[in-house]
């Protein structure tokens, strides 16, 4: 896989300066996957710091070198070479929960109903969170755009 194609892969990108904290993203994610309006069942979480009035979100980066994949003893998490999306195969998962702590953002979580780990699956190409975000605080972008934005925003450097 050439570097160029990786850069063109689609990922999620969150800009806290546009977020309102409405949580439509979480509502949409939980309904799409579990047919429930349950914020605890969303694969992404938006946090609002009431003291400083700041927003932040924990969502899957579909990492280039995913720690969740590396940590899984059952090879139950696979990164698709072409799309770059990192998904759990519930048929292989034994529910050890290693991935839930290995991911630096704690994206995978243990689903008590199914006794397997679950995580963001990029909605198979049509991210519901981005679709229902009015200010486009969470949107679909290329990996290149995400690198640039996040480097500027979190590291305060240009890439």
């Amino acid at each position: 896989m050439s570097q160029l194609n990786v850069e063109e892969q689609k990922v999620l990108l969150y800009d806290p300066s546009r977020c309102t904290g409405c949580l439509f993203c979480e509502v949409a994610c939980s309904y799409y996957h579990f047919k429930r309006f349950d914020l605890d069942k969303a694969h992404l979480h938006v946090q609002f710091d009431e003291k400083n009035g700041e927003f932040e979100a924990a969502y899957c980066q579909h990492c280039d070198e995913p720690l969740c994949v590396a940590a899984c003893p059952k090879e139950a998490i696979v990164k698709d070479e072409k799309t770059g999306w990192v998904k759990v195969n519930p048929m292989k998962c034994v529910g050890c929960q290693t991935c839930t702590v290995a991911c630096p953002l704690s994206v995978p979580w243990f689903n008590m109903d199914f006794h397997v780990a679950v995580k963001c699956d990029f909605c198979d190409g049509d991210p519901q969170c981005a679709k229902f975000c009015s200010p486009q605080a969470i949107k679909v972008a290329t990996r290149r755009e995400a690198w640039e934005f996040n480097a500027k925003h979190y590291l305060e450097v240009d890439v």
Partner: protein, 292 residues
């Protein structure tokens, strides 16, 4: 004269009729002709209905759009939610031929078809672009000396032709400023009122969305909240009552931008039936205008 097909939605005529009364008075004064859209249905609601059945939701929106198309008019919405639903559906129907034909197959069963000729406008766009700030200001005969905090509402940030999410919120702010209010900046303007998370988690919605907003507004000295969206208005009004059971006392009047305009244009407050509010709007107005 600028003419629109008026889409009132569900919440305003059913739960907040004072907004409809004020809007009609404001339209008359400003020379905006709003033709009633007879036979309209729910827009439908922008998130849950689309999640439940996207095609059905799109068909319902498309049917509403055909009613405006029959009149040869663009559609005007007073509610942020209606705006996003109808504008979103309109984008999909105008630019995605496959979706349009799928939806038209459904509509034809009811003798309708959408050609994609309608534009959807939010009321703040019509006020700002068609009437203009000068056109509004010249009708202000009773400037309102109220220290007020603005709440724009999440769906007002939806944009299609620009990435500037403050385009419509800034219009709302500037329009409100014409009425003479003393605008209080409280720093949490963008934060959601909590209405969308009410169904999923009531306590979270009240304590972690509504409460921080109200607390900050009050600490900055606001004596009223200005909204445009009926859903946000309901959250602010009923939410304040519900917060009492969690031990938080707030009783801040929540006035709609259209009511604010009507009052500043000198429409007698009795005509506006502000007593229909579930927050002390009537009391505020009596105090500010010095009437009883």
């Amino acid at each position: 004269m600028v003419k629109y097909a008026l889409f009132l939605g569900c919440q305003i005529p059913m739960r907040l009729p004072s907004i409809e009364i004020a809007s009609r008075r404001v339209f008359n004064i400003l020379g905006l002709e709003a033709v009633d859209l007879l036979g309209y249905s729910c827009c439908p609601e922008p998130v849950v209905s689309r999640l439940l059945d996207e095609t059905a939701a799109l068909a319902v929106s498309a049917r509403n759009l055909t009613l405006a198309e029959d009149l040869g008019l663009d559609m005007l919405t007073l509610c942020n939610g209606c705006y996003e639903t109808l504008a979103e559906a309109n984008e999909a129907l105008k630019h995605d031929a496959e979706r349009r034909s799928e939806v038209n197959t459904i509509l034809r069963r009811y003798g309708r078809e959408y050609a994609g000729k309608v534009d959807v406008k939010h009321i703040v766009e019509a006020l700002y672009e068609d009437v203009g700030l000068n056109g509004i200001r010249k009708h202000v005969t009773k400037p309102l000396k109220i220290r007020a905090a603005l709440h724009y509402g999440c769906h007002l940030y939806r944009e299609y032709k620009t990435s500037d999410i403050m385009r419509k919120p800034n219009m709302m702010r500037e329009i409100a400023m014409q009425t003479g209010v003393d605008m209080i900046d409280y720093g949490l303007e963008r934060l959601c009122c909590g209405y969308p998370s009410m169904q999923a988690n009531e306590e979270f919605s009240l304590k972690h969305r509504l409460l921080p907003k109200l607390s900050r507004m009050r600490s900055k000295g606001a004596e009223a909240i200005i909204t445009i969206c009926p859903a946000c208005t309901i959250q602010f009004e009923i939410g304040q009552v519900m917060l009492r059971s969690y031990g938080f006392q707030f009783n801040m009047p929540c006035i709609n931008l259209m009511e604010l305009l009507a009052l500043s244009f000198g429409v007698p407050h009795r005509d506006l039936h502000l007593e229909l509010h579930r927050s002390p709007v009537q009391q505020l107005v009596q105090k500010v205008l010095g009437v009883s």
